[in-house]
């Protein structure tokens, strides 16, 4: 085989229409984004609950949350994904059976979102907890003195006041979420990395397809960075410039 660059790179393979694999790659990217968005949102919900639980919950809740965040942050995502992917569906179905319902059909997409969400939840718990602690205690006390209920305090004072502190950590988590979706390739979910591998295996153009997928991921990160910067400047309005 000649090592001539012109024959090594067959750009036609990236065409959007078959026989090019570009369309398949973009479909995979779409799946990756869906999972990242869903998993990130689920992680935020879990993280908000977790952060408030860790700060204001009872002793048992605090301990359980500590176990959750420690375990998830100590075990490799790849292992967690495998465990949750099989155990998650299995447990849910057994639960449904115990409650007298039939088995539930869980799509690969939902399972992927669940897995990424649980992993993200532990990290966002820590990020949000740090951000909430950065809200001056006096503001919360003042709100309490005004007779606000805990829910009102959370909605009107704590959440808005902590967001600027949380945004750097949360944006970092979003970037991690987009890259963690690649791990779902190992359980056979058709996201960008897996379809890339399939395309590369079928055409033997390994280098071309992996570079193309890398460019797509990089584009996703760079676009995210631009959006993050806009959000950051908006959230920092009215605050002193960072030291």
């Amino acid at each position: 085989m000649a090592a001539d660059p012109a024959t090594l790179i067959n750009w036609g393979l990236l065409a959007l229409e078959p026989p090019g694999w570009g369309g398949v790659l973009l479909g995979g990217l779409l799946n990756s984004i869906k999972i990242a968005v869903g998993g990130y949102a689920l992680g935020l919900v879990l993280g908000t609950g977790g952060a408030f639980g860790k700060l204001y919950g009872g002793p048992v809740l605090k301990d359980l949350l500590e176990v959750y965040t420690t375990l998830v942050r100590a075990i490799p995502e790849l292992v967690l994904i495998l465990l949750l992917y099989y155990a998650g569906t299995d447990l849910l179905n057994q639960l449904m059976a115990a409650m007298g319902y039939g088995p539930v059909d869980i799509s690969g997409l939902a399972a992927g979102i669940f897995v990424i969400g649980v992993v993200q939840g532990a990290y966002s718990t820590e990020v949000l907890r740090g951000a909430i602690k950065a809200v001056p205690a006096g503001q919360i006390e003042a709100a309490r003195a005004y007779g606000m209920s805990p829910v009102q305090i959370m909605r009107r004072i704590t959440l808005p006041a902590m967001l600027p502190h949380a945004i750097p950590g949360l944006s970092n988590l979003w970037l991690i979420a987009t890259k963690d979706t690649a791990l779902l390739a190992v359980v056979g979910f058709s996201e960008l990395t897996l379809v890339t591998r399939q395309a590369a295996g079928s055409t033997k153009a390994y280098l071309l397809f992996f570079c193309a997928a890398g460019a797509l991921y990089l584009a996703l990160t760079l676009v995210s960075n631009v959006i993050i910067r806009i959000i950051e400047t908006r959230a920092r309005r009215g605050m002193a410039a960072p030291a």
Binding site: V24, Y86, G201, K204
Partner: protein, 260 residues
């Protein structure tokens, strides 16, 4: 801020909506997500094609099952079956005594010998003695891995495990393994490809060991699902009898894949 929170809540609801899903009525057919030509591989438009895909369609039509294809990572395909992620495996899975301890199988639907390929001009055949000291590539969690571990690994060869057959073949072409063991038909497809034509040739078929290599390929099923098993067995018989099996097999092979 309020709108931001609303967006987050909305996104969460959308995320959960997927989990609700429909109650299971369809039969989810597990395919290995790794391309395995000529049996099953995705084409450039993302559809799966190959002999086994046609076989699956014929079976489902014959047994009047509503089948949906669900690609699953090959090395986790048995756990996926036992944890109800899929309802049957159509993935060139050989019926072996070891697998029968965990799952059930339909009758066999094809059977082929196991072959060894290597670089052109390399002087070895498919015997443990001549492969001693060599590196042999196999796909993980296959009968070939078990066989190579027992016969070649025991005789001093190094076994290298790959997630996909394509990658094992690719590494043979790249000279990173000395030989590849797999299903003779799948290897033949590789040897006829551009990459395989240049580099490699068939070195021989291995000595049979029914205990490991099994008695042909069957549809993998959960234990205790006799109703589904009976339906599948009847469907295999029917398409063998009415000629459908031969019709689509001729598109891929010039010999009888069903075997003896």
């Amino acid at each position: 801020m309020k709108t931001a929170l609303k967006t987050i809540a909305l996104a969460a609801v959308i995320g959960f909506a997927g989990i609700g899903g429909a109650m299971a009525e369809q039969i989810k057919v597990g395919f290995a997500a790794e391309p395995y030509p000529p049996f099953a591989s995705p084409d450039a438009s993302g559809n799966w094609e190959g002999w086994e895909v046609e076989f699956m369609k014929a079976i489902c039509a014959e047994a009047k099952l509503d089948c949906v294809v669900t690609p699953v990572a090959w090395d986790g395909i048995i756990p996926a079956l036992t944890t109800n992620k899929i309802d049957m495996i159509v993935g060139s899975m050989s019926i072996t005594p070891e697998r029968l301890k965990t799952i059930d199988f339909s009758d066999k639907y094809y059977n082929t010998p196991t072959g060894i390929i290597g670089p052109k001009g390399a002087a070895f055949d498919a015997t443990p003695e001549s492969l001693a000291g060599k590196t042999i590539g196999v796909q993980v969690a296959t009968i070939h891995q078990s066989y190579a571990d027992k016969y070649f690994g025991g005789a001093g060869a190094t076994i290298k495990e790959y997630q996909t057959q394509d990658e094992a073949n690719n590494d043979l072409a790249a000279g990173r393994v000395d030989a590849v063991q797999a299903d003779a038909i799948a290897l033949d497809a590789f040897l006829q490809s551009d990459q395989g034509k240049d580099c490699c040739e068939h070195k021989g078929n291995v000595k049979d060991d029914p205990e490991i290599l099994g008695a042909g390929v069957g549809v993998g099923l959960r234990k205790g699902e006799t109703e589904l098993k009976d339906k599948i067995n009847a469907a295999i018989k029917a398409i063998r009898a009415n000629g459908i099996y031969d019709t689509f097999s001729k598109k891929y092979f010039d010999f009888d894949i069903y075997g003896g």
